[in-house]
Assembly symmetry: C2
Homo-oligomer: 365 residues x 2
């Protein structure tokens, strides 16, 4: 671990790793040299990110034998077929079991590159350099990797931890506003799960974040990573507590699948999903009306949707949620809220309340 | 674990599991009930095995909600594309994270089903019912799963342990002779790696094994599984000792890839590969001529090839071995023999001896 760079340590026993957060880190050759154990490196990126940052990264990797593979951008390309392009390059380059795969890009690139690292020769080294706000605060922490199946998101994958995560906040300068807001959805989520103080901080600092103020950004990313790391450390393979991180995701995944991958951004679907979880929590009498309003207001200020897409009906949601990973023995488990900063995973609620909540959005048409 | 059935325990901490060995076990509902924790079971099998054993297994699984997927038989179908058929069925059946995947078939079915179990929703339960001699003594022990890449065998995969392995020796009654002999290659391998006494037993009992004598079979399978389990327990993820199990496999994989998957059976390629490792070991002065002859004689009695295919040249081997998983930093590591029952993993040998050995087979044309 390099001590002169701001970092968060993810504690997972012998799979622990640091998350470096700072400006200009993609060019820091010393990070790569510290965390890449042998001489072969494959950079996996996409056609949006490559023109912006690939040269800079390859230059910093000059010491290594490096190659790169440029995947087509977008959630709709997170498929087994596109994933296989990574193996084609690894085999063409004759990379061995000591090689390292470096993910340079957003969540889709990170998930596919990480899953390839988990599977190439049954596991090679992995380094993650997330370049979107969403991947910096979410997918780069915790080791979830995978691809989509046409019938469900992230259905094929592995738990696989990186050697380190490199968060270069300079890479956010080129991120379009819509993608940036999508990242804010996950940041708000951490406040709601177990960090009410952070939620209040976000209420006080949303405009600074929207202005991409560097100090506020480092603070929000650091705190999000710590919040997530603390949950992941308790439950690496999602047997229990980790499911809290899915706040807004059961509804969100249904929206993404129902609308077709790529139509709604993941963060946008999660934002609407959080509001739906809030609405259900209020209907169950768990969350006060004032608290619910604060959630909706903050999500609105982050320029994110607060209701599901108009064309999706109750039956669409129930059908799509029926094959979600969070379904146990036919009962639907959801992450709901007891207050701001206190989420719970539960299947102990009146299913009629769920139906009414979904119908409620339908009636608003 | 069921105590009334003969079993071998594979010791891997909290991933330990029993291997049951006996006659008629595929119909034993009590084994399934003991090791399948929830109610959804997908049987993965192939079009050779399904007509013979699928009904019998599904009947024994009557208590469970079960489905099956029948893959095309053969090593040439061990691809990402065919692998995806398993996910299509899992998704169609809406199986959840508590489901179990049961592999019914040989090594190809076991490797693909196990890899699907490792990846479906990032990991579900796995039970293995190997129906070929080779898979019973080899691929069912140790948790290696995966598929082939067009440029290399087993290049995409995972280490993933089953809940239990069910070896029904009745299933060998329908195995054709060529496949049966292929299994004997791996059995002979265990004698050569670290069990000289077993090698001698095989020299004394090869005819009984060729007659498929049940008592001899149970003994040979049991001892092979124990030998393999003892190596795997030392080194689950192949950082060191486990590589011993690759005796004959570096040359063997080159033969399989060079000839096209499915031309040479895996066990046949390994048999020739063991003889090549023996020839190199003798040239290096590590193995005596008499010992080498005993190896060739036993492999010949098992009706297996003792030399590589005529059309493969030194350059073919070196090129194909260059992308083998056992290559570290450009040096070729091989499993060689110091005596019968004492194999070593080493890159500390004269590369010229390797070249001469490969040329030696070429000159014999």
């Amino acid at each position: 671990m390099l001590s002169d760079i701001h970092s968060v340590q993810v504690e997972l026993g012998d799979r622990s790793y640091p998350i470096y957060i700072g400006s200009g880190l993609l060019s820091r050759g010393d990070i790569y040299r510290e965390h890449i154990p042998a001489n072969q490196v494959l950079v996996v990126t996409n056609d949006m990110v490559a023109p912006l940052y690939l040269d800079q990264v390859l230059k910093a990797l000059a010491k290594f034998r490096h190659a790169s593979v440029i995947l087509p951008d977008g959630e709709q390309n997170k498929t087994l077929g596109v994933w296989n392009l990574i193996f084609d390059t690894l085999m063409k380059e004759r990379f061995n079991r000591q090689c390292t795969i470096l993910a340079l890009g957003g969540g889709v690139v990170g998930d596919m590159a990480g899953f390839a690292a988990a599977c190439y020769q049954r596991g090679v080294n992995f380094v993650q350099a997330p370049t979107t706000l969403l991947s910096q605060v979410d997918s780069s922490v915790g080791g979830k990797t995978g691809v989509n199946h046409p019938a469900g998101k992230n259905m094929i994958g592995a738990f696989y931890q990186p050697r380190c995560v490199i968060i270069d906040i300079q890479s956010l300068d080129t991120l379009e506003d819509r993608q940036y807001s999508a990242g804010l959805a996950e940041i708000i989520k951490y406040g709601l799960i177990n960090d009410g103080e952070f939620f209040c901080w976000l209420e006080g600092n949303m405009e600074r974040l929207l202005d991409r103020d560097r100090e506020a950004l480092v603070y929000a990313i650091d705190r999000s990573c710590r919040d997530k790391a603390s949950v992941v450390a308790l439950d690496e393979t999602e047997q229990g507590k980790r499911a809290l991180l899915n706040l807004g995701h059961t509804f969100g995944h249904a929206i993404e699948t129902g609308m077709g991958y790529g139509e709604w951004l993941h963060g946008e679907a999660v934002a609407a999903g959080i509001c739906m979880a809030g609405e259900l929590s209020r209907r169950l009498g768990w969350l006060g009306e004032a608290e619910q309003k604060r959630i909706i207001a903050l999500i609105q200020r982050a320029c994110l949707p607060t209701t599901p897409p108009r064309q999706m009906r109750r039956t669409d949601f129930l059908s799509l949620m029926g094959i979600d990973k969070k379904v146990q023995n036919g009962r639907i488990r959801l992450v709901l809220m007891r207050s701001l900063g206190d989420a719970v995973v539960t299947d102990d609620f009146d299913p009629q309340a769920l139906n009414s909540m979904l119908d409620g959005y339908g009636r608003a048409l």
